[in-house]
């Protein structure tokens, strides 16, 4: 037995026994334990295996800095790669070490370490280059991975996400943070205090102090009580992982039950009281289990009554460890190695655990635990994320915060104040900066604040294997290799050796690594500099960021007002342009159903729900002038009650949308843009309205969502509508093709617009969305005696392709101009300026070899072309693309495949045969006009 539970009082524990397993072994802890403290008290020395060499590793730290003790947890709640040092022990937990199999103590990959000298930095990249790194990668990753994700596990519930504002956010609940939060709250400020530990107190949980006449632990209790009384929000187990633009701070709260919780806090001021992290000391085999941070050793003893060993060496380069040696003296044999007196450890001995250390004076000390302190690194991550600059402190051997950042103060040990007096003083200074006048400072007794440290950076050519980064197995030799191979920039050093790239992000290792690089390259530490600090400070579960945005809420589709009716009619719903719409109806297979619907639509009449169609109203005396500017086509000549098809271009001349413009009245238009383009077109119209027109004489209203549009199309559409009776004449004289008028249905206005996307006689009925159900039901009812069919979007797509009608974005791309789609007249005729006009007269727009819209006929007897197949031209050196197939269907009307495509010089090449290639298969097509069916348009009036 080495580490053990003492019988001394422990600050954080109760007497209740908690049962758990570690790598299958049944163990016991006490309520209040972390997983780590329970393992230490249970004498488990190997808690994990290192990432690369599978070296046995023990506990190093007591909090977020821990590089070794990563575990997967199941049994109670599922956690992957959790830090054993920050997870509270819960009864029934099954804890497994990561990167070890079957257990950390008996890992089958431990042999890897014997080959370590053959596996330096970048070994894998250098060795497995041929023939392809990706062949080897899965096996190497499997050996080097961390925790195992259960692929079918789901979060029990979505993570809460809470937005919060406050006057002051204090990050860190140690002495500096507690005092600041308390004084700010007393002054009436709204305060949020967060701490990533299980309880408030920071260093006061394990260091002795007398504050205001009570011991430190009691002072913490009183602060907590008063904060509660004052209404401050106190969040423990909560990590401030990132500080973003305009003072947004992200917090992740780990809750005992349920998913983590994300806080987005927007405070007026932030105090960073994030403390400091102890550094290791460099000596051979300094990674052996039993070698631990001195602060951690003290914390485990005082908070959890867990002693790291019975024969303890305290090795230090600074004055902070005095209390550690004193604390262990009553229960263990303690020996001190003080680097300040010129003696140091050159190496540790032991197999699966340290058993002795060898000193520079040649003596050997038997030991079962070595508590080391190589100084303290202030936790300045958030300060740097907030664009704070660092400065090097030659006396304290730290990077510390440089000039102030607006609204961000850094206090306590995070600002390199290592004595309690200075810590409180720094909090007082920050409080004065936010306007707390003369804050009352606590009274300290018997506290010396002088901090002394000597330099103990790793040196080149040290004997044995001296570990820098424990989690990623980076040794001094790896850093020397990087220097030899000229990866001397700190960012290159990081990526070449993976120093600081593990899940602990090098919290204990980065500074030692760059100090060695400084030595190797004859530079100072600040000349080498640090890598960039980026969020998150510690890993945050994806679930926290996702919040409720998962499953059906990930990207919620827009829903038709008639969705339930369509479902009752057996509709198969699919998403089209953000809307959930019927693709086809009934029980048949898709292909058969679509062919049947299209066929019946041509023969009799089809009912189609076109509600997502754009209905953007443009009103006012400037409306006609505005429409002329927006559209490629001249629209001001349109008569009231009439419609016109047209294109909307971007300023680059590229077709953005096509559709019908309805002129209801002299000063009132309706832009019927494509369903998926409504928000974009609306924003575009607003932009130009505000930019060029008089907003008092032009108004735009998007009425798409509150208006349903039901389409009746086919040779029998008029007969059907006559039978429905909407108080409007449907004959060709009163309502010719491309005309609009008002009818009514049960007292509700219906706008009837005769336009056609099928090529057949068609009527669009637009009605208030809440009255659409009754109208649709009536259409269906009357339709029964006219052989009407419910038509989904797939059949409509087939019908429009037969007619050569395009869908922008499908039959056009980011290069397509209106002339490429066969519309050239406005180019010569339209005199007034319009969007994109100048672009249509550029050299590029006038090139004769542009790709143009064509029909493509299958002439090789095969089936339909795959959409995306390329037209190709054989050239001297091979072949090149002539364009591609944009739409392809089987036409039930024509009984053959049809296709549309964008083909080079296509408009002038009708009748020519070209090769069509897809996935290695070569076929043939004849170029044809886009319209394959009823080219004269006789069916519009049939």
């Amino acid at each position: 037995m080495t580490s053990f539970r003492t019988l001394q009082p422990a600050n954080s524990l109760t007497e209740k026994v908690v049962r758990f397993t570690f790598d299958g072994q049944r163990l016991e802890g006490l309520e209040g334990d972390t997983i780590a403290s329970a393992l230490l008290a249970s004498d488990v020395s190997i808690v994990g295996r290192s990432f690369k060499y599978h070296r046995p590793r023990g506990l190093w730290g007591v909090g977020v800095e821990e590089p070794n003790a990563f575990v997967d947890v199941s049994g109670t709640r599922s956690l992957v790669n959790a830090r054993a040092t920050t997870e509270m022990l819960v009864d029934g937990m099954d804890v497994r070490s990561v990167n070890a199999s079957p257990s950390a103590a008996r890992d089958r990959h431990s042999f890897v370490d014997r080959f370590a000298r053959f596996i330096p930095s970048a070994f894998y990249y250098k060795t497995f280059m041929w023939p392809n790194w990706h062949l080897f990668e899965p096996h190497i990753r499997k050996m080097a991975g961390l925790g195992v994700i259960d692929p079918i596990a789901t979060y029990p519930q979505p993570a809460d996400q809470i937005n919060e504002t406050c006057d002051l956010l204090v990050v860190g609940g140690g002495p500096a943070g507690l005092l600041s939060a308390l004084i700010a709250a007393r002054s009436g400020r709204s305060v949020v205090l967060c701490d990533d530990g299980l309880e408030l107190g920071g260093s006061l949980l394990h260091h002795r102090a007398m504050i205001d006449g009570v011991d430190g632990f009691e002072w913490v209790r009183r602060c907590r009580q008063e904060l509660h009384t004052l209404g401050a929000k106190v969040l423990t187990r909560t990590t401030a992982f990132g500080i973003y633009d305009h003072n947004l701070v992200g917090l992740n709260e780990r809750r005992p039950v349920g998913a983590d919780r994300l806080w987005r806090v927007r405070p007026s001021a932030v105090f960073l009281a994030t403390g400091a992290i102890e550094r290791p000391l460099p000596f051979a085999n300094n990674d052996l289990p039993g070698i631990m941070s001195a602060e951690a050793g003290l914390a485990y003893l005082r908070r959890f009554g867990a002693a790291a060993g019975k024969r303890i060496v305290v090795a230090t380069n600074n004055s902070m460890t005095k209390e550690v040696a004193e604390a262990f003296a009553p229960i263990a044999d303690v020996r001190e190695v003080d680097y300040r007196r010129g003696v140091r450890i050159v190496g540790a001995h032991g197999g699966s655990r340290v058993d002795a250390v060898e000193l520079s004076n040649g003596s050997v000390i038997q030991a079962d635990a070595v508590l080391v302190s190589g100084g303290f690194t202030p936790t300045i991550h958030l300060f740097c994320q907030a664009r704070g600059k660092l400065k090097w402190d030659d006396k304290l051997l730290v990077f510390r915060a440089g000039e102030d950042v607006p609204n961000v103060s850094i206090i306590g040990a995070a600002d390199a104040n290592f004595g309690l007096g200075e810590v409180f003083e720094s909090a007082g200074n920050a409080l004065r900066k936010i306007g707390c006048e003369a804050p009352a400072m606590p009274r300290l007794e018997g506290h010396s604040s002088s901090f002394e440290i000597v330099e103990t950076w790793p040196k080149p050519k040290m004997e044995g294997r001296v570990w820098i980064d424990l989690q990623h197995d980076v040794t001094t030799k790896d850093i020397e290799l990087a220097a030899r191979e000229n990866f001397v920039s700190v960012e290159h050093l990081k990526r070449y050796t993976t120093l600081g790239m593990a899940t602990d992000q090098g919290k204990t290792s980065n500074l030692a690594g760059l100090a060695l690089m400084a030595e190797l390259t004859g530079r100072t530490v600040p000349e080498v500099g640090t890598t960039t600090y980026r969020p998150p400070f510690t890993p945050v579960p994806f679930g926290s960021f996702a919040g409720a945005r998962g499953g059906v809420l990930l990207n919620p589709p827009r829903r038709l007002v008639l969705e339930n009716l369509h479902r009752d009619d057996g509709a198969h719903l699919r998403e089209y342009g953000g809307w959930l719409r019927p693709a086809w109806y009934g029980d048949e297979a898709e292909e058969r159903a679509v062919q049947r619907e299209a066929m019946q639509a041509r023969k009799s009449v089809a009912l189609f729900d076109g509600s997502p169609l754009g209905k953007i109203e443009v009103m006012g005396p400037q409306a006609a002038e505005f429409m002329d500017f927006i559209y490629y086509n001249t629209m001001s000549t349109l008569k009231p009650g009439r419609c016109r098809y047209g294109f909307i271009l971007r300023e680059s001349g590229i077709v953005y949308d096509d559709g019908v413009l309805v002129r209801l009245e002299e000063n009132r238009f309706i832009v019927s843009c494509s369903s998926s383009h409504v928000p974009g077109v609306y924003a575009m119209l607003e932009e130009w309205r505000q930019d060029r027109f008089d907003r008092r004489r032009l108004y735009i209203h998007n009425a798409t969502a509150q208006t349903a549009t039901l389409t009746v199309s086919g040779p029998r559409s008029k007969v059907l509508l006559d039978a429905v009776g909407l108080g409007i004449s449907f004959d060709d004289a009163s309502l010719p093709h491309m005309a609009t008028g008002w009818g009514s249905f049960d007292g509700t206005q219906v706008r009837v617009t005769r336009v056609s996307f099928t090529g057949d006689r068609s009527y669009e009925l637009s009605i208030r969305a809440d009255r659409a159900e009754a109208l649709w039901s009536r259409l269906k009812h009357i339709g029964q005696s006219h052989n009407a069919v419910l038509m989904g979007l797939e059949a409509l797509m087939t019908l429009r392709a037969e007619k050569g009608f395009i869908v922008t974005g499908k039959d056009s791309d980011g290069m397509t101009l209106p002339m490429d789609l066969g519309s050239s007249a406005p180019l010569s005729k339209k005199k007034v300026d319009y969007l994109g006009k100048r672009s249509l007269f550029t050299e590029e727009a006038q090139r004769p070899d542009r790709t143009q819209l064509v029909g493509l006929e299958v002439i090789d007897g095969g089936g339909r072309f795959p959409t995306g197949a390329h037209g190709v031209l054989k050239t001297g050196s091979g072949k090149r693309s002539l364009g591609y197939v944009t739409s392809s269907y089987h036409s039930p009307t024509l009984g053959r495949p049809i296709a549309l495509g964008l083909i080079e010089r296509g408009a002038a090449r009708h009748g020519e045969v070209i090769d069509v290639q897809h996935l290695g298969e070569m076929r043939q097509a004849r170029i044809a006009p886009p319209c394959a069916f009823d080219p004269e348009g006789e069916r519009l009036n049939a």
């Binding site: 947004l248 927007r266 664009r387 930019d691």
Partner: protein
């Protein structure tokens, strides 16, 4: 997440806004616009470092406005409506 001050709605999250380009990139309206002038209007951007005026649309109220913002520090100096007298 930045906070942009809409002149009509006050400070709102940047996710509610849509970028509308550099302020002052005026559309050439004269009859004969040279190809250079037109392509400069379409494509040439200053990508200014430091305080830079830009046009944004607040998608929830639909208003365009000018935002003066430092592209380096992301600090916002202010915003103004593009019409005299604000909302009309």
């Amino acid at each position: 997440m930045q906070l942009f001050p809409c002149p009509f709605c006050g400070p709102r999250s940047e996710a509610e806004f849509h970028f509308g380009g550099d302020a002052g990139n005026v559309r050439p309206d004269e009859d004969e616009v040279s190809a250079d002038r037109w392509s400069s209007y379409l494509y040439m951007r200053h990508n200014q470092k430091g305080m830079s005026p830009s046009i944004w649309m607040h998608m929830t109220c639909g208003e365009l406005f000018q935002l003066d913002r430092d592209t380096l520090t992301h600090s916002v100096a202010g915003s103004k409506a593009l019409t005299e007298g604000g909302h009309r």
